[in-house]
Symmetry: C2
Subunit: 438 residues, 2 copies
Amino acid sequence: MPPLKIALIGLGTVGSGVARLLIEQSERISRRAGRSIEIRRAVVRDLDKPRGVELPAGVLTTDIQSVIDDPEIDVAVQLIGGVDDARTVMHALLDAGKDIVTANKALLCEHGFELFGRARELGRTISFEAAVAGGVPIINAVSQSLAANQILSIEAILNGTSNFILTEMLTKRTAYDVVLREAQELGYAEADPAMDVDGTDAAQKLVILTELAFGTNVPLTAFPVQGIDTLDLVDLLTADELGYRVKLLAVVKLLDGQLEMHVQPTLVRADWPLAKVDGAFNMIAVEGDAVGRTWFSGAGAGQFPTASAVVADIIDTAVGRAALTFPQLDLFREQAALPVLPTEKISRRYYLRFTVEDRPHVFAEIADILGRNGVSLASIIQHETPEPDEAPAATDEATVSVVVMTHRTTLGKLQAVDAELDRLTTLHGPRVRMPVAD
Amino acid sequence: MPPLKIALIGLGTVGSGVARLLIEQSERISRRAGRSIEIRRAVVRDLDKPRGVELPAGVLTTDIQSVIDDPEIDVAVQLIGGVDDARTVMHALLDAGKDIVTANKALLCEHGFELFGRARELGRTISFEAAVAGGVPIINAVSQSLAANQILSIEAILNGTSNFILTEMLTKRTAYDVVLREAQELGYAEADPAMDVDGTDAAQKLVILTELAFGTNVPLTAFPVQGIDTLDLVDLLTADELGYRVKLLAVVKLLDGQLEMHVQPTLVRADWPLAKVDGAFNMIAVEGDAVGRTWFSGAGAGQFPTASAVVADIIDTAVGRAALTFPQLDLFREQAALPVLPTEKISRRYYLRFTVEDRPHVFAEIADILGRNGVSLASIIQHETPEPDEAPAATDEATVSVVVMTHRTTLGKLQAVDAELDRLTTLHGPRVRMPVAD
């Protein structure tokens, strides 16, 4: 077979990893692709920036149009970030007849439905294994390996930075700010970590998985998204005492024909697989109606884990598998999208923490408000707060922490509770609310 | 596209699960296969046996020849067990132009190299996701998702029965025999569990994974295979105290161009993912040179998890992906097979337990023998044996258990030690030797 000619659009960390794999492992990769793979262009902004990879003369260019206009280029590996420019470029590449391999999750989250549909109209493919959980082949698993199943739920740790920070906070009993700084120094967190720690990154990946597993395009605004950036160490320690780990869990579940979705710091029973994932790893638990529960885990990011996923997609495209798989995916199915369960109707168990004045009857008022709103309590833990070694004490002398585990209740009821609690003068400090996984 | 016509050869637990999925979920499965899938024949031994599935009239037959002779049948789903008959049947089916989907690991372990080669000569495909770790799509992961990688190691829990028994022994502090009986009553162990508990089943799966990942066909006799059927609860409890779990680990590693392979009860650090897999689950840890470490976990067996894998293979064949993937696999590659490291050269750390007379200098003799044979000790633990609640005490009053953790050493050296220890009169009871994973 003739070589597959590709262009790399973007040659940052992942792009240069892809180039190195293709060049340094060309024998292995061509054997598995059934043909050699030739990097014909690599489009960059700055020709002089060092890339850590030696490309043949004439490959490096700043001119994206030279890719669009070159009919010999079969595949564009689109590794530029951002949304608007990337979208324009992808449309131009599709229109020019290129198959696409991409790692741009933000783009697919916002415009995937449109782009997938356009690719299908044009008979082209978009492969995106690297867009969700880099080193974990979850796209392939859901698309092919679990194709016999109706997916029932996906529960996942999709942001390695957040998981690293949570692990460090708990094991070192150290406050969020301190751990974040360390993570930045170690390279586990970006200089601007906002999208990682505020839940956006995990939510974007959840949107892509939801489109793949349920054929439904859900905007980021349609479900609760909360990050780890407001977590207090005290709650991690209290949860630990109660037999739970706090994880930033991204969840989509099929319930009575509706999708329940959320990304939130969540209490996970310590003996569950998702609770046992420590450090900068990802794990995706997928439940199918035939296969039952399966778990996939590995590096969620990083140069070579992500490059491994990109190259697998390039091989898939070279072999011709992508052309067979893509039209069969549920990404753009004609049947009606599934409705998303309204936030206020999401029913879960909750961990609640209140800081109250340390005198009789104060908690009775809270219990009364909970009770009148139909929130019933599974347990009340009013004991000495586990004292972080370094963090400032969460209570002062006049107040005490009360932790409550509720029975299953809706967010709507808890919002009504909140409105009443706002008027109590005996409540101080932060009120904490985290769902419990089940 | 015209329907894909298939024959089910064997309609036992897995076969009837496959039939039910294909019939009850035909809309979903045809959408993903891009065509409908028609069960044209189901070959059984006994037409009258209840199957838990309603097949169209005329489908059930005892005549395998009616499948071989029917040119309209595209795919044979071969779910009969055993080796010799299954091999003859598979050859006949391949020669008749059928693509194959199978779950028969014993057959592929013994004759896979020959059958894969024959299929390739004939331009046919053999798909076998269900042959290794039913509900865990590890074949697809290694074949496609990790195709950019040189696999460096596979470390896996591949036998759910053994893992269930080990979990129960430890958590209930109960001896092997008692737990095995319970497992049989619960359906987690077969009436004849020999192949599960003696390591054969895991070793067969390891042979298939090794062929896939390293293009090398290794006979079962070329590496150490040991099961859990001789394990003493005392060693599980002692390992637990030392911070390890005992797991039946199937391992293949690429070391300096050679394959190190073994299936043995192994001490795994309690905080490693493989140590945390409890009950009747499988986990496969795969290390690739680009992706790093990844973990795949789920049900290793069972009617619908295995049927899910079989149907995924049927869909792959229907779509045409199998025809593209199969010729690219390393299953029958022309380059030289990798040599297998001889057993006596395998270098690992070991847990050793001796039962010695409880008087001075007895252990000094053992230490001397170890030392003279170049086995150096990392730690010696001579303390009260953790006492199982129900199991008979492992020591009587005149003897004491000594547990030793060695530094890295070879099996060859330990065999020389064993020969000398055999001559000691102060040693009593069983000598236990288990490798430590690293």
